[in-house]
């Protein structure tokens, strides 16, 4: 109790300096938390991937389609429970700015593969009955104000023309991590239109989504599917949904790595500021440390007092920073809209923020603590600060 009072008094001696340092730590911890959240949301797609879903695509690259006939052959592979297919549509809603993913899906088989997309059964029925219908996620609907019954026009970039869809259902995620910024419509609608406009591109699909009976069979089923189409005009590459999503992350890895490096840089910057504050404090108090030593305080105790002060300042600033991370991240997530489907502060992020604050506090106390411990009483007393 006595020590606590001493430490608090010490910390508050230079109120302005302490306040500034705390504010600096607040900003740094907040920035650190936001950057970690950005990095995590980058990986969000792969974290939510199901272990019993596989994705089969053309082995050359995603721009090449697969024939529709592959579906029946994949269904015969042992271990395959469900097969559905989807095409990336890549349409533009009003302007290029409004990016959100759109897929043409084989609706009756696709939706059962994704139980995490929740919507009322009557809406699903309405969607299945209307060929021009589409399903949108809650987040997407909120961003653009889509309501059931609205008509949404998309300008095709891959598939020429302007396409119109009627919103028949809005899905909610099973939990906060479910991506609700997607847009689904009937593959049949796309295909029937292509038969008329670009017949050579009809009857092709972008990817097959495969539901397998057991997660353990993923490797053998993937290999079996790829073996089926070896040496054909369209060789396939089958991987788990997670690997498929991670492939996208890997392509933009340089950016993720840069953000990660920068998130650690901010901790270094604040470490320099905090260390400066503590070094200054120690310099001014050399005479006091000498006095305390003369009174019988050992070096370990002095180090403890200095470290406690440093940690106290760091933690106080960090706690405010962590508390502020949540509302700021929410605001940020709302601003970014559908660019990051899932944007929330995770437990790991908070733990890392606490860890970073502890590290800053301890490192900043190292030099002054060391100096106080090594101090000769006579030199210290002679020091006038």
């Amino acid at each position: 109790m006595y020590y606590l009072k001493f430490i608090v008094r010490n910390a508050l001696r230079h109120k302005l300096r302490t306040a500034l340092t705390m504010f600096g730590i607040f900003v740094a911890i907040l920035a650190f938390g936001l950057l970690r959240t950005v990095v995590e949301s980058w990986f969000a797609g792969s974290e939510n991937a199901s272990a019993i879903r596989l994705v089969t695509r053309n082995a050359i690259s995603l721009v090449f389609p697969l024939p529709i006939t592959y579906g029946d052959r994949i269904r015969q592979v042992e271990g395959v429970a469900h097969v559905s297919h989807a095409n990336w549509f890549g349409g533009i809603y009003v302007s290029e700015r409004n990016f959100f993913p759109q897929f043409a899906v084989e609706a009756s088989t696709y939706l059962p593969l994704y139980p995490e997309y929740r919507m009322p059964p009557e809406d699903v029925r309405a969607f299945l009955l209307d060929r021009k219908a589409c399903v949108v996620g809650r987040k997407l609907a909120r961003q653009y104000g889509f309501k059931v019954g609205d008509t949404v026009p998309l300008r095709g970039t891959i598939f020429p023309g302007t396409w119109e869809f009627v919103v028949r259902a809005i899905y909610d995620g099973a939990d906060v991590k479910t991506d609700t910024s997607q847009f689904f419509f009937h593959w049949d609608y796309l295909n029937e239109t292509l038969k008329k406009t670009v017949p050579r591109r009809a009857n092709t699909v972008g990817v097959y989504i495969i539901g397998i009976d057991q997660p353990g069979h993923a490797a053998t089923v993937s290999a079996a599917i790829d073996r089926l189409f070896k040496n054909s005009l369209a060789e396939t590459l089958t991987e788990t949904e997670k690997a498929f999503q991670l492939g996208f992350v890997a392509m933009t890895e340089a950016i993720v790595v840069a953000i990660q490096i920068v998130s650690f840089l901010v901790i270094f910057i604040i470490m320099a500021v905090m260390a400066n504050t503590m070094a200054m404090t120690a310099r001014e108090r050399l005479a006091e440390y000498a006095t305390m030593k003369a009174l019988g305080f050992g070096p370990a105790r002095l180090i403890a007092i200095i470290t406690a002060e440093s940690l106290g300042i760091a933690m106080a600033g960090a706690l405010c920073g962590i508390a502020a991370t949540f509302p700021v991240a929410d605001w940020f997530g709302a601003k970014l809209g559908t660019l990051f489907p899932v944007f929330g502060v995770s437990r790991d992020t908070v733990m890392m923020q606490v860890g970073a604050a502890l590290l800053v506090g301890v490192v900043a106390a190292l030099f002054p603590g060391f100096r106080a411990a090594r101090l000769h009483i006579v030199d210290g007393l002679r020091n006038i600060g």
Partner: protein
């Protein structure tokens, strides 16, 4: 009379630890600031060098990228017979019908997959890009399963070096050469014979038609004619504009992220400078009183402390820029969202970035030093002298 500059400089060197820590914090912020600008500049330069203002790229309307575009042979023939197209020295028109697709390749070091642009063209296509030179091996022979890889691809992707093979479209393709495209976007591409590649990919349509104008002024008239021709569903863009648009999203992303980070980080570093300067003022109260008693005016005191803060910023700025200049040895490669393909670019430092970064550092020093300097200049002579 002014207080000599050496007073300011010596004050900073009197407390090395504090000065070093404060300057180090600022240096890191300047480093981040400069790096982001360098990255943006590198990206811009890469794409500016890729496109030429005399060349025109024709793609399918609203496809945005070559990969998404498709031009059938009839339409391509119409485009290639336009009167604005320049002739080469051999009397042939400088027009190239090209096919652009993406293939997935594995990186050499990590095995991670990435999309790479593969472009089918002929000898005309090469003439349209004078910046491209073969640096190793030779050009592919027309009508063969040979390909050449850009420098950026040959180094980083498995099977893309000279003498190695890539397998796609039921064929093995031999890499017979590596080309250097002068740090342009073509460095991140693989080139092969257009007819062979179209055959292999079973793709009956071209992706784009590229040609050189005989008179750059005639672009607008040509664009109008091509885009209003009912037989064509195409759009024409100057090559320079086309490539600038390709990287718009990525460039904006880097810019916004960098600006936000720099602002947030600079708050931290400015606070560091402020703490240091307040301490500097506090420990020199008696000194300031003496100076004032000697007859130096408040304005002089203000200047001297501001100069000290600016000097601190300058030291941090120079350290940060020095640190950032080493980044020029690195190049970064990432997926360009718009083209969905790998693009390599490097950090590029230029005088504008150096001056911007220095100005940024000085600003941090100025903002951090202003309040402490103001306090110093407002000290009462008697109180200040008594502080000793």
């Amino acid at each position: 009379m002014a207080i000599p500059f050496s007073y300011t400089a010596k004050n900073l060197s009197a407390r090395k630890m504090t000065t070093a820590l404060t300057a180090a914090g600022m240096a890191l912020v300047v480093f981040v600031f400069a790096t982001v600008l360098m990255l943006q500049e590198g990206l811009r330069k890469t794409l500016v060098d890729t496109g030429s203002a005399d060349n025109v790229v024709v793609t399918r309307r609203s496809s945005g990228t070559e990969v998404q575009s498709g031009i059938d042979r009839v339409q391509a023939a119409i485009v290639s017979s336009q009167p604005e197209i320049a002739y080469g020295p051999d009397g042939q028109s400088l027009v190239s019908k090209e096919m652009v697709v993406l293939i997935t390749l594995q990186k050499r070091d990590s095995d991670k997959p990435s999309n790479v642009i593969i472009r089918g063209l002929d000898a005309r296509g090469r003439q349209l890009r004078p910046q491209v030179h073969i640096v190793q091996g030779r050009m592919f022979r027309p009508g063969s399963s040979e390909i050449i890889a850009g420098k950026g691809i040959a180094e980083r992707f498995r099977g893309a070096g000279v003498g190695e093979q890539l397998r796609f479209g039921m064929r093995d393709w031999v890499v017979v050469g590596t080309f250097d495209a002068g740090k342009s976007g073509f460095d991140s591409e693989i080139w092969g014979d257009v007819d062979q590649l179209m055959q292999a990919f079973r793709r009956p349509v071209y992706s784009s038609v590229i040609f050189k104008l005989n008179d750059p002024q005639r672009f607008d008239a040509l664009k109008l004619r091509l885009e209003s021709d009912p037989r064509l569903t195409l759009e024409a863009k100057r090559e320079s504009v086309f490539y600038a648009e390709q990287s718009e999203v990525l460039s904006n992303f880097i810019g916004y992220l960098g600006l936000t980070l720099s602002v947030i980080f600079s708050i931290g570093a400015t606070i560091g400078a402020m703490i240091t300067m307040y301490a500097s003022v506090a420990s020199r109260t008696a000194e300031i009183g003496t100076l004032r008693a000697l007859g130096f005016r408040r304005g002089r005191i203000l200047t001297v402390f501001l100069a000290e803060a600016l000097l601190l910023g300058l030291v941090g700025g120079i350290a940060g820029i020095t640190l950032a200049s080493f980044m020029q040895f690195l190049s970064i490669s990432t997926m360009n969202w718009q083209s969905f393909a790998e693009l390599a670019f490097s950090f590029t430092l230029n005088p504008v970035i150096i001056s911007k970064s220095l100005a940024f550092a000085l600003c941090m020093g100025l903002v951090g030093g202003f309040l402490p300097a103001l306090r110093a200049s407002r000290l009462n002579i008697v109180d200040a002298l008594r502080a000793a």
